[in-house]
Symmetry: C2
Subunit: 206 residues, 2 copies
């Protein structure tokens, strides 16, 4: 059995790092260098990856492109995922237009309660009334939702999504929302990105 | 000497997890449970934390509030950091209004090139012309910048920031920007948050 935490926690870090290495045109990387970049013991990396197959070559390390492709397959990113977005304010509009989402995700609809916004176009999408989100989720078999509504509306909208059959919610509102056991909620927090920058800065100033 | 990667990579994960535990009202956590939640070997956690002092109690584990406070001090988050934001479009406006940034960061100014935006108010801030960013950075000793401009403008604005004395850039534009050796660039990518949600979903469906 693959240890639960490896999948949930370490493999995404490997994938993120490999994505950057690939963008930088790096072809091979040793488990030593790889470990150094992501802060994980190289022997742990080798153990994690050996569950899935034999990707590294003695003395050469891992081929970045090949490993990236394998990891994407293992982690379900070689298929596309349908997503709905609820809350088409500043953050929602920035997400609708963001090119980075197009690689693995198909936005099936964007929803809001503001009568001024409903019917208007954001990117390629027409803003729909939140009343229509359940039928969109059920008709298209949508599993994922992005929640970009104000704090006060987050729980109520989370309940609507869970009742419609959504399985995963990426919540941007700065509040923890309760969801039934079969729905996974991840809280996104951009201030952690800024905190990470501070850590790197402090360490490098030493 | 504290191993370089621990600071850079693992401690932020500890901090993020502790922040959620604290929000949930959890008082103590064993290194075993802690490791399970973040996907890091409990003995690695104990080794990392022992560099900084003796925080855990035999049999009880770590006190969440106390450890959170200690980690914040170690990682420089017990002080406030000055930040400037460049690019006050959809994403920039969502960031200016985001309550999560107020805990550790002071926004010293927001800047854009769009004449329609310059002079207008976003949250508590008046949008300033990008021409003024250098003097704001130098006058206030600002170290951090958030880059929320289109891809095409990212490198040019990055150069202005580096020349003004900025030490860390959080870049949201979907392009890698070059910066001098004394400037750290972190690329934020919200689609990784969505990818993380997919990993959790796939694993829990098994
Ligand atoms: N986690 C982060 O890093 C981060 C960063 C920025 C903003 N935020 C948060 O994201 C959320 C959105 O921020 P914003 O700047 O876009 O806010 P905004 O006010 O511009 O947009 C919110 C949108 O949600 C809509 N809405 C309100 N109630 C709704 C409901 N019941 N159903 C559907 N739509 C509803 C509004 O009509 C509006 O269009 C806020 O909660 C904010 O705190 C989080
Ligand atoms: N990394 C992520 O997860 C993520 C998510 C959403 C959007 N984005 C990216 O963030 C950026 C901003 O997105 P948005 O939706 O807010 O775009 P937007 O077009 O709404 O806003 C861009 C702003 O930058 C300003 N600008 C352009 N050139 C400038 C310059 N030289 N100096 C100062 N300001 C300048 C524009 O006037 C505009 O106000 C884009 O590059 C987008 O791809 C990234």
């Amino acid at each position: 059995l693959i240890p639960k935490t490896a999948i949930r926690k370490r493999l995404p870090l490997y994938l993120r790092c490999l994505t950057y290495l690939h963008q930088m045109g790096i072809e091979n990387i040793s488990s030593q260098n790889f470990g150094e970049k992501i802060g994980i013991d190289p022997s742990q990396i080798r153990r994690d990856l050996s569950y899935f197959g034999d990707f590294g070559k003695q003395g050469v390390g891992y081929n970045v492109e090949n490993l990236l492709h394998e990891l994407k397959t293992i982690l379900g990113l070689n298929q596309r995922w349908k997503v709905v977005l609820v809350g088409v304010g500043n953050l929602g509009q920035a997400l609708v237009n963001y090119s980075g989402l197009q690689y693995n995700f198909d936005l099936m609809g964007v929803f809001d309660t503001d009568p001024e916004k409903i019917g208007s176009k954001v990117g390629d999408h027409e803003v729909q009334d939140i009343k229509k989100v359940s039928s969109t989720i059920q008709k298209n078999g949508v599993k994922l939702a992005i929640l970009a509504v104000p704090k006060a509306a987050a729980q109520e909208v989370g309940d609507i999504l869970a009742a419609s059959g959504i399985k995963g919610i990426l919540n941007f509102a700065p509040v923890s929302i309760r969801a039934p056991g079969n729905v996974i909620v991840h809280n996104a927090d951009l201030s952690f990105e800024l905190q990470n920058l501070v850590f790197s800065l402090i360490y490098s100033l030493k």
